[in-house]
């Protein structure tokens, strides 16, 4: 397909001059951009292409701007286009309300490179967001990522060959269902990170997803938390409160099916002055299918090396760090119920451990202590047009 470089300015002018209510079409074709394209402050705008792989925006050789497309506006529909090779994040939506992202594909075409942009589809600090039927690949951080947002639904998406397939970070009232995450380093991540304006996430339901064969090399640049993620991770929950994980198929992992850890376990500094809670609470994992891969766990990352050292070449199904908030001993910190037979489960009891020999003495494999029902919570539904 020939590349059209003249459309970039046409589209940018249209997005600057749009009236509220405008429907801006991206025709069939391959269009090159040398700087970020953006919509800022004009509400009720739709940007609609002819479909994934049909309307392609390529940012190869981009000279300016830290993302491919940047949206800061309310009541927005983004549908039916592909964003390729953005210098930074492919599609960033910030400080926006009522956003629908449908049938959008973000990718980097040169394969898994640490110089690829961080995020594919990246709503941050948004409220009422629906991400559906999208595809994200080759992001050097997360393919589909939602951060510091409220009321989010992610469904029917496919994330593959990213470091993290799908990631929920410091977000509240999130439903993640009917998604497929495969061939990423890690399938689905639910993190609470310190030092952010939205200090804590909460109320996340993850169900009916398939997280399979997420054994892809970790090609994230050092620095970000995902750079420590061991290849072969089905799902990882860090320091979150109120997470229900059920009816998922978590399969084909060579290192770990599900990890649940506090921020302490990352051994990274944090600050609680904004109310950040480094512990996980009310994590309810039930009725999932776990099926590990027959393989040597990852040796490239510290966490994988630890799994290898503790369990000598055996992939694990569920590992928790056992670092519980002493102030909230009464809450069910974590419940692991009806997730199948013969699971390799370990509570690391890592609170006092320093080093592998220490850890070995403290391992607890008795999951029956955690058969319980999590405290139920409701996820506030989204409102989009």
């Amino acid at each position: 397909m020939p590349v059209d470089s003249s459309f970039a300015k046409t589209l940018q002018r249209a997005l600057i001059s749009a009236d509220s209510g405008a429907v801006i079409q991206i025709p069939v074709g391959r269009f090159s951009f040398d700087r970020s394209i953006s919509l800022d402050g004009i509400d009720h705008v739709s940007i609609i292409g002819a479909g994934k792989g049909k309307s392609i925006l390529t940012f190869l050789g981009q000279k300016d701007g830290a993302e491919g497309m940047l949206i800061k506006a309310n009541n927005i529909l983004l549908e039916g286009f592909t964003i390729e090779d953005a210098e930074g994040d492919a599609l960033k939506i910030q400080d926006s309300e009522h956003v629908v992202i449908r049938n959008v594909h973000t990718t980097w075409t040169k394969g898994a490179k640490s110089t690829n942009g961080g995020y594919g589809i990246y709503p941050v600090a948004c409220t009422n967001v629906l991400v559906e039927s999208c595809e994200a690949s080759y992001a050097s951080d997360a393919g589909i990522y939602v951060g510091q947002s409220k009321k989010v639904v992610m469904r029917k998406n496919i994330a593959h060959h990213n470091v993290a397939g799908i990631e929920i970070e410091n977000s509240q009232d999130v439903e993640v269902y009917d998604n497929l995450a495969e061939n990423n380093t890690g399938g689905i991540l639910i993190f609470d990170m310190p030092g952010l304006p939205q200090a804590n996430g909460g109320r996340v339901k993850v169900y009916n997803n398939i997280s399979r064969d997420n054994n892809f090399e970790n090609f994230a640049p050092e620095g970000g938390v995902v750079s420590t993620l061991p290849p072969g991770t089905g799902m990882l929950i860090i320091a979150h409160t109120d997470v229900e994980v059920y009816d998922n198929e978590i399969t084909g992992y060579k290192t770990l099916g599900l990890g649940v850890i506090s921020w302490f376990f990352t051994e990274r500094p944090f600050d609680t002055s904004n109310g950040y809670d480094p512990y996980y609470k009310n994590i309810y994992v039930h009725d999932n299918l776990f099926m590990r891969k027959k393989a040597i766990p990852d040796l490239s990352k510290e966490f994988g090396q630890m799994v290898n050292a503790l369990f000598i070449g055996k992939p694990q199904d569920i590992i928790i760090d056992g670092i519980f908030d002493p102030e909230h001993q009464d809450l069910p910190t974590i419940c692991l119920t009806d997730n199948g037979e013969n699971l390799r489960y370990t509570n690391l009891n890592a609170e006092t451990a320093t080093g592998i020999p220490d850890l070995k003495k403290l391992l607890d494999h008795d999951m029956s202590k955690l058969i319980c029902q999590g405290t139920s919570f409701a996820v506030e539904g989204i409102e989009v047009e």
């Binding site: 300015k9 940018q12 002018r13 997005l15 600057i16 001059s17 040398d34 700087r35 970020s36 953006s38 919509l39 800022d40 402050g41 981009q62 000279k63 300016d64 701007g65 830290a66 993302e67 940047l70 800061k72 953005a86 210098e87 930074g88 994040d89 910030q94 400080d95 640490s114 110089t115 690829n116 942009g117 961080g118 995020y119 990246y122 941050v124 600090a125 050097s140 951080d141 990522y145 951060g147 510091q148 970070e169 990170m193 310190p194 030092g195 952010l196 304006p197 640049p221 050092e222 620095g223 970000g224 938390v225 750079s227 990274r268 500094p269 944090f270 600050d271 002055s273």
Partner: protein
């Protein structure tokens, strides 16, 4: 002021001067003993109209309309030849103590407010500008082949009834006009840095949304340069040197300013006699803090670079990146005390890659002197080990 043979008024349009002139004419008429009052007042009135019209033809006053002009000259901010940038009446030049680095471009800044209007000091020590205000900023380089300047662009912030409107005018080759461009552009520039090294860059002129991207507080466009503390310096006016805030007060561009109370003064980043901490924070506030501010677009990173920030973690000390992607440069923390070469802050200031560099736009060169300052500052921090 004199009247030439063809009765065209020569001289300034200062109302005081005009008043003196009319009084003079009036006295002349009385002196010549005209007896018919009607005749006297008719002639007086005709002369007044003539003077005002002639004056209009010579130096039209600055005027703004609800819609932006296509040409910079239409605003009449400058008299005589446009590229001399000689300010028209009421167009007041100003300078900042610590400016934003823009690829070593030189800048000349002006402010204009409608007659009878004035800025006020609001409670957070910021300036609140009246409707109709125009902030005018010219970006230029000395020409390598002549003594003239090469003016690249003039950026305006015009305060309309619905808020600040960012406008960029790109100068033509002849340097006699600049034209409105909302979609931005690139211009090949060859010039020299302060150490005499010549460079050639694709200077990036921002599109309208990119202007908004930096001039943003809580999703509202706002000026970021002229704060009380950054204006609090001496300026060499044609009529003599004077503190800018005192001058603004004197010409009624500022009310509510109390010289003994509003003493806050930003450090001069380039003044080696000031301590390195204050200089570094001033530099970071101006170059990074427009976005990395509690209400700025980079607040989602949790990194706050303004000179009031006292929480070291928020300033980046031992703070892991959140969504830096490849911007981390493989480094773990924004600032590692004592170790500039392990600090992400320095990496991103030294980078020229669009997806990794900071600021995200408006820079095609490394600001060597700025980087050195931040390196010195980080080196001066006591190591935490």
């Amino acid at each position: 002021m004199i009247i030439s043979k063809d009765l065209k008024v020569q001289g300034g349009c200062d109302p005081a001067e005009q008043y003196m002139f009319m009084k003079f004419i009036g006295n002349q008429m009385v002196g010549k003993n005209y007896h018919a009052n009607e005749v006297r007042w008719t002639i007086f009135g005709l002369l007044l109209v003539l003077i005002l019209l002639s004056c209009e033809q010579t130096y039209p006053a600055v005027h703004l309309t609800d819609e932006p002009f296509e040409r910079l000259s239409e605003y009449h901010f400058f008299k005589d030849q446009l590229n001399q940038l000689s300010p028209n009446n009421r167009v007041l030049p100003y300078d900042l103590i610590t400016p934003l680095f823009s690829d070593y471009a030189l800048k000349s800044r002006f402010v204009w407010m409608p007659p009878g209007k004035t800025a006020t000091v609001n409670d957070v020590n910021l300036l609140s500008f009246p409707e109709g205000t125009a902030l005018i900023k010219n970006f230029y380089y000395p020409r390598m082949d002549s003594d003239h300047m090469n003016i690249v662009e003039t950026r305006l912030l015009v305060k309309r009834s619905n808020g600040w409107d960012p406008l960029t005018y790109i100068w033509n080759e002849a340097q006699d006009e600049a034209f409105l461009e909302i979609a931005g552009d690139f211009k090949k520039i060859t010039a020299q840095d302060p150490t005499g090294n010549s460079f050639t860059i694709d200077y990036a002129i921002p599109n309208k949304n990119q202007c908004k991207g930096c001039h943003e507080r809580s999703r509202t466009v706002t000026p970021v340069g002229p704060t009380l503390k950054n204006l609090n310096r001496i300026y060499d006016y044609p009529e003599g040197s004077m503190n800018q805030l005192v001058k603004w007060k004197e010409v009624d561009y500022l009310t509510g300013y109390d010289m003994s109370r509003d003493t806050a003064k930003l450090a001069d980043w380039s003044d080696p006699s000031t301590n390195v901490h204050d200089r570094a924070l001033a530099y970071l506030e101006v170059n990074c803090g427009t976005c990395h501010h509690q209400e700025g677009p980079a607040n989602v990173s949790g990194l706050r670079l303004d000179s009031h920030e006292s929480n070291l973690f928020n300033l980046g000390v031992n703070k892991a990146p959140v969504s830096a992607g490849k911007g981390s440069g493989g480094r773990k923390y924004d600032i590692v005390p004592g170790k500039p070469d392990e600090s992400i802050l320095v990496y991103r200031m030294q980078s020229l890659e669009p997806g990794a560099m900071m600021p995200e736009m408006g820079r095609k060169l490394v600001h060597k002197e700025g980087v050195q300052l931040i390196r010195d500052w980080i080196t001066s921090m006591p190591t935490t080990e």
